[in-house]
Symmetry: C2
Subunit: 517 residues, 2 copies
């Protein structure tokens, strides 16, 4: 952006704030329409589109993305945003936040030559195809050259954006504003120092929870009816909600007044969809809870990947996997499966859902071992982006780390380094936000109790309104107007502290596994 | 466009056709993405969106529309299209057709000042709201001032576009390229001269078909299963198809590979959805049948409203309401309602579906009286646009014409001039295409038989492949590349002749009603 500076200063001198604000509003509406369309196409698509729709949908999405990029990188838009930024004293709070976010979104794009950007998108599209074949064929060598190219491409892009900065730091900051390697190194050190020995202690304990009481075959239609009741119990606004069916659950929010959750149901795994729904509905509550006045602005949606994940995991884990909530939850489940679940107690549900089981697959991990799966990915991403390892080295590293942190033996790459889609999209720096989001929640729970909330009482009542109210006022309503660091500080009265998370895990799993520490 | 002429000529002299074609392709992709998005938002919306989605969807659609308009009216796009038009000799057939259609689409917008256009859109949005209230309250006076303003607004717009031309001619030509008042006057004269006495003869006949055998209560889920079987029997490509539920049936085609039909089911009216499905699937077949190479171009979709309606009505009436098709149709219906329909014969279905019953409501009209409902609207639109009558005069005119043409007494405006939504959208000149489309079909049927097709044999076999093949090669695959006049001439070997339609109606209903003429 340096080359524009002299022009910008001139423009600022000649600016007319009222006219500039009108232009800002018009720009925001155009961005809104493109985002709304892209979000609706990409969210309905996997649930509803027939097979032959895929190519046209993909092309439409690609073009909408190019249009969005063209809007933001337009030098006139840059000048407008710079003028507004220099005149920010005369802007209201909302417009000031819009300018901050738009400048940040623009900065991610503007210094990268369009052909570099579009070559990377094309590479990632091809890499994703190859990854799918490689995963099915357990063929790391097929995917490896693409992974090397994707890493090189992201390093290239990161250097266009900020040649002074470590490339992985640039990418980490994209997904979680304000984060970098130093932050995550410290975070993950505390995570592994706590969790690795705790997992070992759980494995060695004589008290082993049983999943037996919840096993069996559960009618699929009844599971969907249960899912709808979970939506209602969580307090998702059904006038702004659509529930779809898919293979991999996800949430999408084209509008504040229109959020969709897609989930799956397995006949032989009742808990899978119960906790998927609690998780996705947490995302949905965040999207719906943003200030209604932000509808047509860039302030819509969650402020970061980590904060979004903190909201989904808050409802999945801190509420959903608590002993207190097991009571209203088993009651709801019994309503739909009276024959099968009559004799299952809340404690049995709580125990079954919290069984610690080191495993190979991230998406099937329990609450305690989950962050270790993320740790493996973080360490490998870091080494790849630093040029310390190549794609060819990854399977060996992966096996070593899974053995070291989780004590499991990786039998093949399909159940190893090929299991996740993210790298094939060219996304590096995304995984760490999954663990970070889990950790944010512990601090929120602590603060709720400090604020006088009877947290267990709220969970055991099944009426989560006080939790929604607390999160709604302190997190959701701000959308992207405040960064996660600001939100955590103002919501909890202190900066982020991973200690709340590690204490929570130690306390919870020591109790379940009868550990004395 | 006159003001641009000198510049255009200069540009043409400096043009580089290869560069211009690349720009054309890029323009078409942008238009494609906006159209695809708008079509998906507006088609999924009414089926799926929760209540609170409406405002954001409306805003997104409005902005997409503005973006589309801005793309087309851009003077550089005008110059590009003019250069390509002047160099059309070097273009391939597809690009030549694209330039023709884009110039036509642009001409509809470019001479109308943007504020005139957007004021009209705003007026129509408000008028549509008022119309809904007026219809529910049977309050013509509430809607009348809006109708007068809408008529004045369309006259204004038509004069910006072509001050020399009769405004109604401008509008008629929008919906059906090449049509005007003179064409429709002649068309409707023949229609009324044939149908009005024929309806009277049917009413006077001793042979009255009975709807009794098809009356009863029919399970809604079974009706939806029947609907899916009708989709299969018609040969709609289910890999490019999505079936939704709505109040007023419609078809939408975001892509050639993605067409949706939304329909309704009434427990006490089995035939309603059967014929709605046959109708909407006809639209769907047309959308799916367009040349796959036109996917990302303005040549996608049907060539005109009349031609689209001709395809839906071909399957609804010429096939669906034929005696020959009644056999496979009743067999399919019996499969889903074995108890209720076992004793109902094909002839009873054919008779019930073809009962002539002059009525007040257009959308419930039978095949024979339907064009008379359109005639009433055509005559009133014509008078309104010519300034011969005002909105206040419409209810009286409406009642007179319904009495004159259909012999029915209009009890109120809810069942009279307030029944249709179209005028409240500011659409004048659309209605006539409904009757025209019906008439096209008779000529197609005649030509199929001339070409050696055993039309009744195809219908009675239930395998409609020969009909799909005929229409697919002669009509569908051309998309918007050829106008309806060209398509009719090349498909049937002669220009459009309403005589095929009137002969068909006389023959069919004379036989059903035992008339000797």
């Amino acid at each position: 952006m340096d080359s524009e500076k002299s022009k910008t200063t001139l423009n600022a001198a000649l600016s007319n704030p009222r006219q500039d604000i009108a232009e800002l509003d018009a720009l925001e509406k155009k961005i809104f329409a493109l985002r709304y369309s892209a979000e609706e196409l990409s969210s309905f698509g996997p649930c509803l589109d027939p097979a032959k729709a895929t190519e046209e949908r993909g092309e439409a999405l690609a073009i909408l993305g190019e249009q969005m990029q063209a809007l933001l990188v337009d030098p006139q838009v840059g000048a407008l945003l710079d003028r507004l930024h220099e005149n920010r004293a005369v802007l209201d709070e909302t417009h000031r936040a819009q300018v901050k976010i738009l400048r940040r979104d623009r900065a991610q794009l503007v210094d990268v030559p369009p052909e570099v950007q579009s070559n990377f998108v094309r590479l990632a599209t091809e890499a994703n195809d190859v990854w799918e074949k490689a995963k099915n064929a357990d063929d790391w060598d097929l995917f490896a050259p693409y992974l090397d190219k994707l890493v090189a491409g992201q390093i290239d892009i990161a250097q266009y954006r900020d040649a002074e900065k470590d490339p992985y730091d640039v990418l980490l900051n994209d997904f979680e504003h304000g984060s970098n390697r130093a932050f995550y190194d410290s975070f993950f050190t505390k995570i592994k120092d706590t969790i690795v020995p705790l997992v070992a202690d759980c494995a060695a304990s004589k008290h082993q929870p049983s999943t037996k009481p919840l096993e069996g075959s559960f009618d699929v239609d009844r599971q969907w009816n249960l899912a709808k009741d979970i939506v209602a119990m969580q307090g998702v606004d059904r006038d702004a909600f659509w529930l779809g069916k898919t293979e991999h659950p996800y949430t999408a929010g084209p509008g504040i007044g229109f959020v969709m959750v897609a989930s799956h149901v397995y006949e032989d795994d009742l808990l899978s969809n119960v906790y998927s729904m609690l998780h996705e509905n947490g995302h949905a509550l965040y999207e719906q809870g943003v200030n209604w006045d932000y509808r047509f602005t860039s302030l819509k949606g969650g402020t970061s990947m980590g904060m979004h994940e903190s909201q989904s995991r808050f409802f999945e884990n801190y509420v959903g996997h608590s002993e207190a909530f097991a009571e209203p939850l088993i009651q709801l489940m019994r309503k739909h499966f009276p024959g099968q679940l009559t004799r299952v107690t809340a404690f049995q549900l709580f125990s079954a859902a919290n069984k610690v089981q080191p495993s190979l697959i991230r998406t099937e991990a329990d609450e305690l071992t989950y962050p270790l799966h993320i740790l493996v990915r973080y360490e490998i991403e870091q080494a790849l982006l630093a040029g310390e390892v190549k794609a060819a080295d990854v399977p060996k590293l992966w096996a070593e780390k899974y053995h070291h942190y989780l004590g499991v033996t990786v039998p093949d790459n399909t159940h190893g380094a090929l299991q996740d889609v993210h790298w094939s999209w060219g996304e590096f720096g995304y995984f760490p936000t999954y663990a970070l989001g889990s950790a944010f929640g512990a601090q929120f729970k602590h603060a709720m109790i400090e604020d006088g909330m009877d947290f267990d009482g709220v969970c055991s009542s099944g009426d989560l309104a006080p939790i929604r109210e607390w999160l709604g006022q302190r997190i959701w309503k701000w959308g992207r107007a405040k960064d996660s660091g600001e939100l955590i500080a103002s919501a909890t009265g202190e900066p982020f502290d991973v200690g709340y998370f590690t204490s929570y895990l130690v306390e919870k799993f020591s109790r379940i596994y009868g550990l004395t520490r």
